[in-house]
C-alpha cells in the first residue's frame, strides 16, 4: 500500500471514530478536489464555499456508509459534492417540466477558439446560463452523465434534460461567437 493510501486510510479511520484532527486532515486533503467541483455549480466563491462546507458535514455524518469495495473514496466524495451543488441550484431555481425536446441541434462552435480560452473565461460564460440549464450542461459536458442519469438526479424527464442542453449549446455558440468574431 502506498504511503498516501495509508495516510488516507488513517484519516478515514479517525473520521469514523469522530476524531476532529482526522476529519480536518481528510477535509484538507480533498479540499482542492471538492472546491473545484463546487465552483462548477456555483455563481461565485461564496456559493462554492457553502457547497463544500455542507458537503463535508454530510460526508462526516455518513462516513460509516462508505464502502471501499463499491468504489473509491474520490468517487464517493465527488457524488456527495455534486449532489450538494445540485441542491444548491435547486434551492434558487425551478426545473420547468413543460419543455421537452427529442433531438438537440448541434451547434457550430470553433474548437480552436475553446482551446485558446482559459478555464476561468469559460466558466464566466457558463455562469451566465440560467441555473437549471447550467446544471444540466455541467452534468453532461463536464461530469459525463447521460440524459437518463441527469433526469434521475434532477427529477426531470430526459426530454427536459435534452432541452436544457440544447439551450446551453445555443447560448455558448452565441457567446463564444460574439467574443471571437
Amino acid at each position: 500500500m502506498l504511503a498516501v493510501e495509508t495516510e488516507i486510510q488513517d484519516m478515514l479511520n479517525g473520521s469514523l471514530a469522530n476524531k476532529r484532527k482526522a476529519q480536518e486532515a481528510l477535509f484538507r486533503h480533498f479540499y482542492g478536489f471538492a472546491m473545484n467541483i463546487a465552483l462548477r455549480y456555483s455563481r461565485d466563491e461564496m456559493d462554492a464555499a457553502d457547497i463544500v462546507s455542507h458537503a463535508f458535514v454530510k460526508i462526516f455524518k455518513s462516513i460509516h456508509s462508505f464502502d471501499s469495495t463499491r468504489g473509491s473514496l474520490h468517487a464517493w466524495i465527488k457524488r456527495i459534492v455534486v449532489n450538494e451543488g445540485l441542491d444548491h441550484i435547486k434551492s434558487r431555481t425551478r426545473f420547468s417540466e413543460n419543455v421537452e425536446l427529442e433531438t438537440v441541434p448541434e451547434p457550430q462552435i470553433n474548437n480552436s477558439v475553446i482551446e485558446q480560452m482559459g478555464a476561468e473565461e469559460i466558466m464566466e460564460i457558463v455562469k451566465k446560463l440560467p441555473p437549471a440549464t447550467h446544471a444540466v450542461f455541467v452534468l453532461y459536458a463536464v461530469e459525463g452523465y447521460n440524459h437518463r442519469e441527469i433526469a434521475e438526479k434532477l427529477s426531470i424527464s430526459e426530454g427536459t434534460s435534452k432541452w436544457h442542453l440544447s439551450e446551453a449549446r445555443k447560448f455558448l455558440q452565441e457567446q463564444i461567437g460574439t467574443l471571437y468574431n
Partner: protein, 198 residues
C-alpha cells in the same frame, strides 16, 4: 444525442482545472462548528477551545473552604483541653456508703454535708486582692482520698467511708503562666503596715 461533442470535451477538460481559492481555514471553521453541534466529540482539546474559567474558580473556592475548615478544626481541638485545664473545676467526690450502715439519714443530706466540709473550691472569685499575686498551681492542688473526720454535721451517724476520686491534675506544661501583676521583685513582705495616726 448522448455523445459529447468535441468542444464540450474541451470545456469539460478546462473546467476540471479551475483555480481554487484559498478558503480552507474559513470553510473548516464552519464545518467544525456544525460538527460540534451535530456530532460532539470527546477527543480532547484541539487548541481552539479556551479552558473553562469556572473550573479553577470552583477549585479555588473549594480549597479555601477546606483550609478554613482544617484551621477551625485545629483550633477547636487545641483549645478544648486547654480550656479544661484553665477552668478550675470543683473537686468531684465519689461517695460510697457501706451497706451495714444503720440509721442513715437521707443520702442527700449526707452528701451535702460532705460537700460542705471536703471541697476545697477555688473558683478564683473568692480570692482576695492580695492573693492575686500568689496565683500559682499550688492553689489548685487536688484533694485525694480524703477521709472525713468527725464534725458537727455527722456526729450522730456512723462515719461512711468516702472515697474521693483523684481529680485530674492540670498539665503544667500546657498551662500558661499568668504574668504577675505589679512591679517585679515586690512581694507581700515588701509592704509595711503602718498604723494610722490620729
Amino acid at each position: 444525442m448522448d455523445e459529447r461533442l468535441r468542444y464540450e470535451q474541451l470545456i469539460g477538460g478546462k473546467l476540471q482545472s479551475l483555480p481554487v481559492p484559498d478558503m480552507q481555514d474559513a470553510i473548516w471553521a464552519r464545518i467544525k462548528t456544525q460538527l460540534d453541534l451535530d456530532m460532539p466529540t470527546d477527543d480532547g482539546d484541539d487548541g481552539n477551545t479556551p479552558p473553562s474559567p469556572t473550573a479553577p474558580r470552583i477549585l479555588g473556592w473549594g480549597l479555601s473552604i477546606l483550609i478554613f475548615a482544617l484551621v477551625t478544626t485545629y483550633f477547636l481541638i487545641k483549645n478544648k483541653p486547654s480550656a479544661k485545664n484553665n477552668s478550675v473545676q470543683p473537686t468531684t467526690i465519689e461517695q460510697t456508703v457501706s451497706p451495714n450502715t444503720e440509721n442513715n439519714s437521707p443520702p442527700l443530706q449526707k452528701q451535702n454535708a460532705n460537700n460542705k466540709t471536703t471541697v476545697p473550691v477555688n473558683t478564683g472569685a473568692n480570692n482576695s486582692f492580695n492573693d492575686i499575686g500568689n496565683d500559682s498551681l499550688a492553689q489548685y492542688s487536688p484533694v485525694t482520698n480524703v477521709q472525713l473526720t468527725d464534725d458537727s454535721v455527722r456526729t450522730n451517724f456512723p462515719s461512711p467511708s468516702v472515697t474521693i476520686s483523684s481529680p485530674q491534675l492540670p498539665d503544667t506544661n500546657s498551662v500558661i503562666k499568668k504574668k504577675g501583676r505589679g512591679m517585679a521583685g515586690l512581694g507581700d513582705s515588701s509592704y509595711r503596715i503602718v498604723p494610722k495616726k490620729n
